[in-house]
């Protein structure tokens, strides 16, 4: 199997997982997603820029746009999501209501995983305008700054790379809070997707901080042996990846 074949299999597997979740929860049917591949990168997104319709009592009330941009991580071993977007839009407006976004290697002054709410609240505007100027972003919003002091300019943190919400979480929220129509058995479809996502994230978190995993397993009564040279083990096992510490 060539590298190209291997990538195509990964693309298909990833796209199928997303497609299966949408189908199992919303019963969307048909060709709703596009996977675009070039070299060792690919993007999976809903075909329409305004996403797919979400109904309640049979009538469209919202839309959701989904996009993942993926490639291999630094060691070229694991598929990495470089960017993801889950945008919730109103049925008639092209401006999103909510934007769940993730940028793997972001600028550092906004959370890599964040939520932006496109709404207005006077009290937020007041607090932003009255705020300090310690950071670059805060200076952008204070009087004389370049950014409007509004709620949508805020990037609300969502737990960083490892602990950010997945598509299943957003769909679950829309079903619970907006009463979005879902197919019979939607909860098991969500749980299956969420289990797969969180298992992957947990494995990555363990690689980020193996010593914590070892300590926890020992507390649970497991006997864990650490392979390799002791000195190397010491530094490697106590290492905590920057992924665990990111904003």
């Amino acid at each position: 199997m060539t590298a190209s074949d291997a990538l195509e299999r990964q693309v298909l597997a990833f796209a199928t997982r997303v497609s299966d979740t949408l189908e199992a929860v919303l019963g969307t049917g048909g060709a709703q997603l596009r996977a675009t591949v070039l070299g060792e990168r690919f993007e999976v997104s809903t075909v329409a820029a305004r996403g797919i319709p979400l109904t309640a009592r049979g009538k469209e009330i919202l839309r959701i746009f989904v996009k993942y941009q993926c490639g291999f991580d630094g060691r070229a071993e694991y598929l990495a999501i470089h960017r993801s977007e889950f945008h919730v839009l109103g049925a008639t407006s092209s401006e999103p209501l909510l934007r769940y976004e993730y940028v793997r290697d972001g600028s550092g002054d906004v959370p890599n995983a964040h939520l932006q709410i496109h709404a207005h609240r006077d009290a937020i505007t007041h607090a932003l305008v009255a705020g300090g100027n310690r950071t670059r972003r805060a200076r952008r919003i204070t009087p004389g700054g370049s950014t409007l002091a509004d709620l949508k300019s805020l990037h609300l943190p969502l737990g960083g790379t490892r602990f950010r919400p997945c598509l299943e979480d957003v769909l679950h929220f829309l079903i619970e809070e907006f009463g979005v129509d879902a197919v019979d058995g939607w909860r098991s479809g969500l749980d299956a997707g969420r289990k797969e996502w969180r298992s992957l994230q947990l494995r990555s978190a363990i690689r980020d901080a193996p010593q914590i995993a070892v300590e926890t397993l020992r507390q649970l009564g497991f006997q864990v042996s650490v392979p390799g040279d002791a000195a190397t083990k010491g530094s490697e096992q106590t290492r905590i990846s920057r992924r665990m510490l990111e904003f």
Binding site: L12, A31, A35, T36, L38, A49, S94
Partner: protein, 66 residues
């Protein structure tokens, strides 16, 4: 169900150039941050938004810097 589209680099570059010119003519800018701001602000027509989304796709796939 998913449509798989496999791009060749030269064709992707040509498509990006054509879309960039088209968007510059339509909205007066090909600045990606400005386009992004207009797109999420609801300031693009549906056709323009489709072009902007495609440009983001091509920019990502053609970017060797990340």
């Amino acid at each position: 169900m998913t449509i798989i589209e496999r791009l060749e680099r030269d064709a992707a570059i040509a498509e990006r150039d054509a879309l960039t010119a088209r968007l510059r003519d339509a909205v007066g800018s090909d600045d990606r941050l400005a386009l992004r701001a207009r797109a999420v602000g609801g300031g693009l027509t549906e056709t323009e938004a489709e072009v902007a989304v495609r440009l983001e796709t091509l920019d990502y796939l053609l970017d060797d810097s990340v």
